[in-house]
């Protein structure tokens, strides 16, 4: 309950901060939607030339983009520090969060909001409604898929960036992990065989963000639901454990700073 109050206060402060620069915020939102649309034009052109690839059509790709973009948008808007955690650790900026009686990881992640995330969120929901897979139970499955996607984004990136506690600056490996996770999540898993398919379910769990939730939205399946829930619960637990384990090794940046 106290954590929810903390999150609510942080999100309110982030929104007030964004509203101070309303024009910049709206620009970010609109341009991110245009950016996603422009990127999706690739698939429009692709399916204009080839009708389907390994059973995936343009509508299926819209659904995949819907789930992945909404999940990314929620993570970026509500937990905006999830892409810069390694910098926060290596530059000693955790001092601020450690000095307050609140969960360090949750506080650090939710202290920043990326305005562009709202653009992804709106685009993702819009893409779902245009995908042709709209129904009441389908929408509920869509929400489950998005929740799993948010959990995987947050936990996987926390896990990778927690390496900064041991390696110092791990920005390069974090960027590589982020790039791999995001890029692979926007492609159907049926394109990959053997080892690549295994990697996308384990080391880089990108299939759990886009492909599998999109298939789940199309048709309900108990084994898939259990797979999604178990994977996200495992990754959330593992990432939190690794972060707090690493926190024991944290050395203060000894720097004066003000959080606004």
């Amino acid at each position: 309950m106290r954590n929810l109050q903390l999150l609510s206060a942080l999100w309110k402060a982030n929104l007030q901060s964004a509203m101070e620069y309303r024009a910049a915020f709206l620009t970010q939102v609109i341009f991110m939607m245009l950016n996603n649309l422009a990127y999706f034009m690739f698939w429009v052109l692709y399916f204009d030339k080839f009708n389907s690839v390994r059973g995936w059509t343009l509508q299926d790709m819209m659904l995949l983009f819907a789930v992945a973009a909404t999940a990314w948008g929620i993570a970026a808007y509500f937990f905006g520090n999830f892409t810069t955690l390694s910098e926060i650790i290596s530059l000693g900026r955790l001092d601020y969060y450690l000095s307050l009686p609140r969960p360090v990881l949750l506080h650090a992640l939710a202290s920043r909001s990326l305005g562009s995330g709202m653009g992804d969120l709106i685009y993702g929901v819009g893409s779902y409604f245009l995908s042709g897979y709209v129904s009441v139970d389908g929408f509920l499955r869509f929400l489950v898929g998005v929740a799993v996607g948010v959990a995987i984004f947050l936990s996987f990136l926390t896990l990778v960036q927690s390496l900064s506690f041991w390696l110092g600056n791990s920005t390069a490996i974090s960027q590589l992990a982020l790039s791999a996770l995001l890029t692979f999540s926007l492609y159907p898993r049926s394109l990959f065989d053997g080892a690549a398919k295994f990697i996308l379910l384990t080391i880089i769990p990108a299939s759990l963000i886009g492909s599998i939730p999109a298939e789940f939205v199309k048709s309900f399946s108990w084994p898939v639901l259990l797979q999604l829930l178990a994977s996200s619960a495992f990754l959330l637990t593992a990432s939190t454990w690794v972060f707090y384990r690493g926190l024991r090794r944290y050395e203060s940046g000894n720097s004066m700073q003000v959080e606004v």
Binding site: Q28, M41, L45, F50, A172, L191
Partner: protein, 299 residues
């Protein structure tokens, strides 16, 4: 930060002749016969950036590994596509052609200058007023700096990408393709530089410029033929796409890389440099107006 960096920069500053002119006075330096000295100055900026980039080889090499991720995805997609089409060649491109085409596109994309963010920050922070008093041209500095950085990234991405694509799709294209592609890739880099600088200078007008970069990047991805070659576009869209500068940032070098043809090469080169001339003109105009407005506002 290693201690050798400040020393290197200090040494460079001592080496650079300081004609105590403003950035725009580079032209007068040229007129007075000091062309060689000016060139040396920008060459020093370029080489300093190369040294800076190579100061952290592990970090730089690590970033280059993302090219393997992209090539694995493209290999999966296009292998499935060729298998579904049941043909060896689509619009004149085989599966190996396609992968080497996409590698060239990725190398250009990952090596393109990121000057927009630096320029934008310098404008927003007001640092630009201080920089303009330095004995070099503002855009010339960013060009040399970006070329040094981009050159290292291109080489490292090729070093990582070539073995990966070789394993995925077989041996690379013939040497003639390399010569043509690298010639056009340099022009593509200049085109990118002009566009990215223009986006950076937008900071004089709007607070947020990163969004413009995103849209520009996607325009290059799609209309430049980075994700899908222009030959596979609908017939009505091909002439339009080929008439825009984006095609000469990606498609032209990548296409000639895998299908070298002398007549097409000269044609692409001519159109590419025509676009470069146009964009340099626009950039010079925008830059002069921006600097003037900065002076009017008192920096």
């Amino acid at each position: 930060m290693r201690s050798s960096h400040p020393n290197a920069v200090e040494a460079l500053v001592r080496k650079i002749p300081c004609p105590s002119t403003t950035g725009l006075d580079v032209h007068s330096a040229l007129r007075s016969g000091r062309k060689t000295e000016t060139m040396k100055k920008y060459w020093s900026i370029l080489t300093t950036q190369v040294v800076n980039s190579l100061a952290y080889p592990g970090d730089f090499l690590g970033r280059s590994f993302s090219i393997i991720v992209f090539m694995l995805i493209f290999a999966g997609l296009w292998r499935a596509t060729f298998a579904a089409a049941g043909t060896e060649s689509i619009n004149g491109l085989t599966f190996p052609n396609m992968l080497w085409y996409l590698l060239m596109c990725e190398v250009i994309e990952l090596g393109r200058p990121r000057v927009n963010r630096v320029i934008s920050e310098q404008v927003k922070s007001g640092e630009v007023a201080y920089i303009l008093s330095k004995p070099y041209n503002f855009l010339g500095y960013h060009f040399s700096h970006g070329l040094g950085d981009g050159g290292v990234r291109v080489i490292l991405n090729l070093l990582v990408g070539i073995p990966a694509v070789w394993v995925l799709a077989g041996p690379p294209p013939p040497p003639l393709g390399w010569v043509m592609a690298l010639t056009l890739a340099f022009g593509a880099w200049v085109l990118h530089f002009c566009m990215m600088s223009l986006i950076g200078l937008l900071a004089f007008l709007v607070e947020e410029t990163n969004s413009f970069e995103l849209i520009y990047q996607k325009a290059v991805f799609v209309l430049g033929g980075m994700l899908i070659p222009l030959d596979m576009f609908p017939l009505w869209l091909q002439p339009l796409a080929k008439s825009l500068p984006f095609a000469y940032m990606m498609y032209a070098p990548a296409r000639l890389f895998v299908k070298p043809d002398l007549a097409t090469f000269w044609q692409f080169l001519a159109v590419q440099w025509l676009w470069i001339a146009v964009l340099i003109g626009v950039l010079a105009l925008v830059y002069q107006r921006s600097v003037r407005s900065l002076t009017v506002n008192g920096g």
